[in-house]
Symmetry: C2
Subunit: 337 residues, 2 copies
């Protein structure tokens, strides 16, 4: 049978483009060995964290290898099985995204219950973006009632959940995003207290200061660079800044990144800045995350937005869309029904 998958064709320099990707067709053998399963992917995830993996730089996860199939979260269904633990019809989550089918020994596959949960939720609200938002806001950020919380990248998968988790915890929430559509969603659907389009604001720091008259107790930063720099000017005494991503920098050559000049505020205000990678917190907090999220959803406090591209051939376009504001909420690629 024919499988289509996306290979990594060239490294960005520094802007990624469609040339970085190559659609490859290959033949999967018909016969499964003992213990193997054939998985048909239903959904795959594209996420900003994948962009640093395209650079040839060691980090918390290894860089993508050229001329290999890309990796990323996916959820699929077992279509053929030679493994009694993974019968046909089992939904499985894996890091084997960017392909339609794969054969697996079962290693690295997580069985997922889809009886009451949409399969793609495991890539979003109940998956990595969800627990990232939860850990950063409630656990590390210690958001509590009365806090002023500012969220950069508030229209993305993580940011949109941070906003709503903070609201559920009783905070006053201000968000910035890169399109008017995202701002409208934040105000009218997520119902946060204030939101603005940073691309059309002449003075980012002044706008933020005006929207946070008491200052920022908790800053959840997905963007870094100029937005981090501006937000530092509005931090409150003993405020917390949770650094989750630096998407502003991802497509810039290192020498062109915005250098942050306001770190003296961290000293003068006793600010705590904490960076994190959610992988380090998943095991410990997964249970509480699932319970809290189920409660908040049942109370109608969490809306969830998806932007969906269809077909593995559209995955590169979906990925690139993360960097030009094409996604409202979680960007997903639907690979099969």
């Amino acid at each position: 049978m024919i499988n289509r998958e996306i290979h990594f064709a060239q490294r960005p320099s520094p802007q990624p483009s469609l040339d970085c990707f190559k659609l490859v067709e290959n033949e999967l053998g018909e016969e499964l060995k003992d213990g193997q399963v054939l998985v048909k992917n239903l959904w795959m995830s594209v996420d900003p964290y994948m962009r640093p993996r395209m650079n040839d730089v060691k980090s918390y996860i290894p860089p993508f290898q050229l001329d290999h199939v890309l990796e990323g979260g996916a959820i699929g269904v077992v279509e053929k099985s030679n493994n009694p633990k993974l019968p046909v019809g089992t939904h499985v989550e894996s890091m084997n995204g960017w392909r339609e089918y794969f054969v697996s020994s079962g290693k690295g596959l997580g069985i997922r219950d889809t009886s009451t949960i949409a399969p793609q939720d495991y890539l979003g609200i109940l998956g990595m973006p969800g627990i990232t938002a939860y850990v950063g806001t409630k656990i590390l950020g210690e958001a509590k009632a009365g806090d002023t919380v500012y969220v950069s990248g508030a229209g993305g998968a993580v940011g949109s959940l941070v906003c709503q988790i903070a609201k559920a915890l009783g905070c006053t929430v201000v968000g910035s995003a890169g399109s008017d559509a995202k701002v409208e969603w934040l105000l009218n659907t997520a119902k946060i207290d204030a939101a603005f389009n940073y691309k059309t604001e002449a003075d980012f720091a002044a706008k933020l200061a005006a929207l946070c008259p008491k200052g920022i107790d908790l800053f959840f930063d997905n963007v870094g660079g100029s937005q981090l720099d501006g937000a530092l000017l509005s931090m409150r005494k003993n405020g917390r800044a949770i650094l989750c991503g630096t998407i502003e920098d991802y497509n810039e050559a290192p020498e062109k990144r915005h250098g942050v000049k306001n770190l003296f505020k961290v000293v003068a205000l006793g600010v705590t800045m904490k960076g994190f990678v959610v992988l380090d917190y998943m095991a410990e907090h997964h249970q509480a995350f699932t319970a809290d999220m189920a409660k908040w959803r049942s109370e109608g406090k969490i809306d969830w937005q998806e932007t969906v591209y269809e077909g593995v051939d559209k995955a590169p376009e979906a990925f690139l869309g993360l960097f030009n504001g094409a996604n409202l909420g979680k960007m997903l690629v639907k690979l099969a029904d």
Copy 2:
């Protein structure tokens, strides 16, 4: 009687110079009111934190006022008294530095025991620099045996104590400083594990990486800017950075400051950066600080270095010397015997 004091004559723009200061003589009245004392200052302190106070910017302490006498830590002795709680001969610490004499109601004066302690120690090893080093290293920095600790500004009053406290706690300690004399003192007297002169290193980040082969567990930063940026590249997973000062920035116009571009490392490595102002920690930790410091000194683990200028008229020169490496250890001005 004649009192000489230093007034704030003009704000730096941005380099401070002798023109920012003016020596003023005034006549102190002979008669003390009920409850008043006349204090003769013996020693005054000059510290880097005073530089930001020279800008007309609100911060954790108000800016200095033009044409007023400057403020800062001082220790003196009661020379005349109309206050039974402060008899003649009592040593008192105050924020009334930059002057030879002052009359006080007693408010803001702290009585200091000088029977076994040199008066100027209250401005240094047992005063603000000492407890700053202690809180940043042991309390907030959680330095523990086996940690690699890197200290910027390691030859200054705070940095030189951080180095030795970290050694006393069993850490491997690397320091950078701005003169060969400081480096020699760090290696031969403070006996830290490695030290280098950042001014003569072509590649700061590479040098630091070479001296910290296992990476930095705890970074105590007095400097900020380019040194913070470089050190972020050598942080270990879950490392801590304690931000105590940004002396590199103090004399730069904001637009000329070095912008920090490596904050993505804070995310990828799960680094915690914590800024602090010691005033917020003094009450809680003073007792433990005094006890620990007495123990370490009795064990010969803490050397203490002073650079002394004589006469209130030399105070501006002493202050300016903080920014061109004139001080090894604590910079003090001796005002009287």
